[in-house]
Amino acid sequence: MIFALVVCVGIYVLTTWLGPKKPSNVKLSTYECGVDPEGNARIPFPAKFYLIAVLFLLFDVEAVFFFPWAIIYKGSLAQGGHLFWAMLIYLAFMVLALIYVYRKDCLRMK
C-alpha cells in the first residue's frame, strides 16, 4: 500500500514539476465543447440513480449474507441439508423483494 501511494504521489509531483505552467482564463474555464459554459454544472439528474443506489444497498447487504452461508455449507452437508432449506426460505424473501421492485417499475430507466 505504501508502495502504491509512493508511485501515485511520485507521478503527481513529477508531472507538476515537469509540465509547463501557462494558465489562461480560457484554459481554466469549464469545458463545454469550446462554447462559454452556461448555467450551473450541478444539473438535476433523474431520481432513478438515487433509487438504484438505495436498492444496491439493500441487495448488496442481502448478497453479503450469502458469503458466511456459502463457506459453511460444504461442511454442514455431512449433518443433513437443513442449511439448504434455511437458505431457500431466505432466498424466497429476496426474490419476493425483487419481484416487488420489478412490479413497481423501479428499475426501468425510461
Binding site: M1, F3, A4, L5, V7, C8, I11, Y12, L14, T15, L18, G19, P20, K21, K22, P23, K27, L28, S29, T30, Y31, E32, C33, P37, A41, R42, I43, F45, F49, I52, A53, L55, F56, F59, D60, A63, V64, F66, F67, A70, I71, Y73, K74, G75, L77, A78, G81, F84, M87, L88, L91, M94, V95, L98, V101, Y102, L107, R108, M109, K110
Partner: protein
C-alpha cells in the same frame, strides 16, 4: 522483527506490483495494435519495432504536459479523484496467488504478496472503493458531462457488483473457502474423470455471469457508458489533463488485469495446467523452484489470454443503451446468479445424499 521477512515481502511487492505497472504500457500497445488489426489498418508502428516503444513515448509526453486545475473545481476532491481510483486498483493485486511456493536459501516463500484467508472478500471490497474516486472526480470537476458520466458510472458499477459478488459466492460454495490460494489448490485434478476440476467446469453459469459483470465493473465496451465519447465527451475525466488523466487510464487497465487474474483464480484453475497434476509436474521437473516458475508462466498465460479477450470484445461489440444496461443487470443477471447459487447448493445437497 526478522529483517529477512521484511526484505522478502518488499521483494514480492516490488516484483508483482512492478509487473502490474509494466503491464499497463504493454496493454495500451496491445489495445491499439489489436484495434488496428481488427480494423485493418497499421496502428502505431513508428516508435521502435512494431511501435513497441509508443506507450513509453506516451508516458513521457503525459509527464511533460501541463497539469491545469480548472478554476471552478472543488480542488481537494478534484485532486483526490484519480488517487482514489488508482490506489484501490493497485491494492487488489496483493491477494492474487501467482504460483505455489518457491524455496530460496532454504526458506519457503509463497508467491503471493499477502495470503489472506478472506482473499476474495478483500478483493471485492477494495475493488468497489474505486467508485469513490470516479464519483469524486466527476462531481468535483463542476462539469455537466463529468457529472453525468460519474452518475452513470457509479450506478452501473454498483448494479453489476451484486451479480459479481453472487457469482463469486457460487465459487466459494463449491470450494468451501475464502482463501484464493486454497481455492486454486482445490482445482488440481479432474471431475467426472475427464474434465479438469476448474471452477469453469463446476460453475459454468457462474463463470459467464462473472465475465459479464467484470466487463461492466471495469467500464469496458460493451458497457463503457460512463465515457460514451459520442454522448458525454469523455465522461467523468473530461476536465482532467496530463498525468491525472493518465491515472484514470492506469486504474482501468490495472483493474482489468486484476479482475482477469481473479477470474483465472476462481474459474480457470489458477496456475494449474489442464489434466496435468502438480505432483506429476514436480516429479518431471525435479525442483520446487522450477515448478513455481512453470506455474507462474501458466498463470501469466491465462491472464494474458483473458486480457486479449477483453480487447477483442472491445473492438467487436457496439455499446449498450443505458436502460438496456440496467435491465441486463437487475432483471437478467441478478435472478440468474441467484438461480446459479440455488442450483449449485441443490446439486451439492443431492451429492451428499447419495
Amino acid at each position: 522483527m526478522d529483517w529477512s521477512v521484511i526484505l522478502i515481502a518488499t521483494a514480492k511487492i516490488v516484483v508483482i506490483y512492478g509487473a502490474l505497472l509494466s503491464s499497463i504500457p504493454i496493454l495500451t500497445w496491445a489495445e491499439r495494435r489489436g484495434a488496428a488489426f481488427i480494423q485493418d489498418r497499421p496502428g502505431p508502428n513508428r516508435v521502435g519495432p512494431f511501435g513497441l516503444f509508443q506507450p513509453m513515448a506516451d508516458f513521457v509526453k503525459f509527464l511533460w504536459k501541463e497539469d491545469p486545475i480548472p478554476l471552478n473545481v472543488n480542488k481537494l476532491l478534484y485532486v483526490m479523484g484519480p488517487f482514489l481510483t488508482l490506489i484501490p486498483a493497485s491494492l487488489t493485486i496483493a491477494a492474487i496467488p501467482v504460483a505455489e511456493s518457491a524455496v530460496i536459501f532454504g526458506r519457503e516463500i509463497p508467491l503471493q504478496i499477502a495470503d489472506l484467508n478472506v482473499g476474495i472478500l478483500y478483493i471485492l471490497s477494495i475493488g468497489s472503493l474505486g467508485i469513490y474516486g470516479i464519483l469524486f472526480g466527476g462531481w468535483a470537476s463542476n462539469n455537466k458531462f463529468s457529472l453525468l458520466g460519474a452518475m452513470r458510472s457509479s450506478s452501473q458499477m454498483i448494479s453489476y457488483e451484486i451479480p459479481l459478488a453472487l457469482s463469486a459466492a457460487g465459487a466459494v460454495l463449491v470450494f468451501g473457502s475464502f482463501s484464493l490460494r486454497e481455492m486454486v489448490q482445490m482445482q488440481d485434478g479432474t471431475v467426472l474423470g475427464f474434465l479438469p476440476a476448474w471452477g469453469i467446469c463446476l460453475q459454468p453459469l457462474g463463470f459467464l455471469i462473472f465475465l459479464v459483470a467484470s466487463f461492466a465493473e471495469t467500464n469496458r465496451i460493451p458497457f463503457d457508458l460512463p465515457e460514451a465519447e459520442a454522448e458525454l465527451v469523455a465522461g467523468y475525466h473530461t476536465e482532467y489533463g496530463s498525468m491525472k488523466f493518465a491515472t484514470f487510464f492506469m486504474a482501468e487497465y490495472m483493474n482489468m488485469v486484476t479482475i482477469s487474474a481473479l477470474m483465472v483464480v476462481l474459474f480457470l484453475g489458477g496456475w494449474h495446467l489442464p489434466w496435468v497434476s502438480d505432483a506429476f509436474l514436480l516429479d518431471k521437473l525435479g525442483s520446487v523452484n522450477g515448478l513455481a516458475l512453470v506455474q507462474a508462466l501458466v498463470f501469466l498465460a491465462k491472464v494474458g489470454f483473458l486480457v486479449c479477450f477483453y480487447i477483442w470484445i472491445r473492438w467487436t461489440l457496439p455499446r449498450f443503451r443505458y436502460d438496456q444496461l440496467m435491465r441486463l443487470a437487475w432483471s437478467n443477471l441478478l435472478p440468474l446468479s441467484l438461480f446459479n447459487l440455488v442450483a449449485t447448493a441443490f446439486v451439492m445437497y443431492l451429492g451428499s445424499l447419495s
